[in-house]
Amino acid sequence: MESKNLKINVPDGMRDLVFGDCRRYSAIERRLAEVYESLGYREVRTPALEYLEVFDGGSALPRERMYKLTDNSGRLLALRADNTMPMARVAATKLLGELPALLYYNQSVFAVQSENSGRAGEIMQSGVEIIGAPAPRGDLLCIYTAIKALRVLGLPFKLELGHVGFFNSLLCELELTDEAKTDLRRLVNAKNAVLLGSFEGLEKSQLARLRRIPLLYGGEEIFDEAEEVAAGNEGALIALEYVKKLHRLLEEAGLADDIIIDLGIVHEIDYYTGAVLRGYTAGAGEPILSGGRYDGLLESFGHSVPATGFAINVGLVAERLANAGVGENGGAPDVLIHYPGHEFAKAAELAERLASEGKRCELSCFGSEEEARLYAAARGILEVVVL
């Protein structure tokens, strides 16, 4: 076992954010919050620790991958493993009197990642939940918010629209064990056309149909093929009609250019019940936005209320922006004020005056002017004022 000085290292998957990273994270969170607030959303913050049961309902994250600890009575707690479940808990316990509730949040979720995978264990998410708004109005608001949010990030993007009802209805008519259905769901979700084609226990015609599902992605040209795949299955046809209807309404609003379709979205998260969303940008290997409708989730907190929402992965967005050189410079103050020790009052007065002119100024921590000038040069501070 390699010895590690635990005191000077961070645990696997955890990261320090220094300067430029923080600037990008803050800017993204601030801009997104402005979009959400401009559309009437209100902020909610939930505790970092919850009873593990809160996260147990929808398998957003399997128990094994949650960061767990115990409270003083030995009950299991989990570090926030998902944002939607705590938001649903808040809505079901505190907001039922004021529905619909438009909520937004900027807070991290935590997931244990496999060793050396290079993936973050703490993921900053910025997202919304629309509680108490049924389809299609809730979905339209959600998609509209997602597009506005993605646009403000300054990255080229595509927002993908799907519907879990399409695959789920086709799955329903197959006579398979629950275990086999879980396997099928996993294969369709991963677009594993190869293993799907050799799936055991199904007839040739059923296999031929299943194999086409992962390939039902692209623009509206896929609707015709989707119709063939769904033929004879009422649930799948209803889901398809609904996606077409959303697409038409978005098109009429001039928003369809940013939209792509994937009817093969199954989602690894069980709690989704209707339209689902994913956002992609070039260079990020995974979605920068993920979400959808979860009409059954509040039931697990005792109330049946329709709901939908999405979360944006702030870390991934920040990485892409860093890659594009955004937010690399900046952060250096405009002026360094160097002053003799007894002249602090003058220095403070000058700092106030410069601040009122909109200049950022730093008070020198050095005793000698020479050191102060060297520091200013290294730090990129263009002006040094010596009192």
Binding site: G118, K158, E160, A190, K191, N192, A193, V194, L195, G197, P214, Y217, G218, I260, D262, Y280, T281, A282, G283, A284, G285, E286, P287
Partner: protein, 210 residues
């Protein structure tokens, strides 16, 4: 342009021949022109080909720094992957097999077995499905040595012709599954570069005659 990670070694030459048949000019990868470079371009600039070890192909495609990859299903089974597996290329065919000293297999009984493998996850899963309690030992090189030296009762490995097994007095006890090379894609890449990835799939499909 699509960036494709190609597994070095066992399936490399077959994969390059397949890409050539699919109409991609891979002369940049020819032995005499290759040198020590790791990144190559096809003649028409349609593909950028990256040579990598099998496990790294999955890592690069998973993170999205490569759009596509050609890798054996043995590595996908062992390492797990969230990439889209769109085509079975039918090359690099072999089988996962449980093997050991000829005539010595007693089956899964009450005795705790020790099994050596380069594929500990595949091994553990296969025995776990049978409810068997086994000790899995990870071996890096020639796994055949482990039963010969008395470290393991059996091995789980990929077997092509079985010659190495036979020459060392070993035999296949049971075939676990078939293995072949797959064409995989990053999920975001197939969405954002659909026209290009569709074209690659179509041309490779024609080349393998499926």
């Amino acid at each position: 342009m699509i960036r494709l990670a190609l597994t070095k070694g066992r399936i490399e030459s077959e994969a390059i021949a397949l890409l050539e048949r699919a109409g991609y000019d891979c002369s940049d990868l020819a032995e005499e022109r290759r040198g020590r470079r790791l990144i190559f371009r096809t003649g028409g600039e349609e593909l950028e080909i990256v040579l990598a070890k099998a496990g790294d192909v999955l890592t690069y495609v998973g993170h999205g720094v490569c759009d596509a990859g050609i890798v054996g299903s043995d590595t996908i089974a062992e390492q797990g992957s969230d990439a889209c597996v769109l085509l079975d290329l039918g090359i690099g065919r072999c089988r996962f097999a449980l093997a050991g000293k000829a005539g010595q297999w007693r089956g899964i009984g009450h005795r705790r077995l020790t099994v050596a493998s380069k594929y500990p996850n595949v091994t553990r899963r296969w025995f776990a499905r049978r409810g068997a309690d086994v000790e899995v030992v990870k071996i890096e090189g020639s796994v055949e040595l482990a039963p010969l030296l008395g470290l393991a009762d059996a091995i789980v490995d990929i077997v092509e012709t079985g010659t190495t097994l036979r020459e060392n007095g070993l035999e296949v006890y049971e075939v676990i599954s078939d293995v072949s090379a797959r064409l995989i894609f990053n999920m975001a890449s197939i969405k954002l570069k659909k026209a290009e990835t569709d074209e690659l799939v179509r041309r490779v499909q024609v080349a393998i005659g499926s």
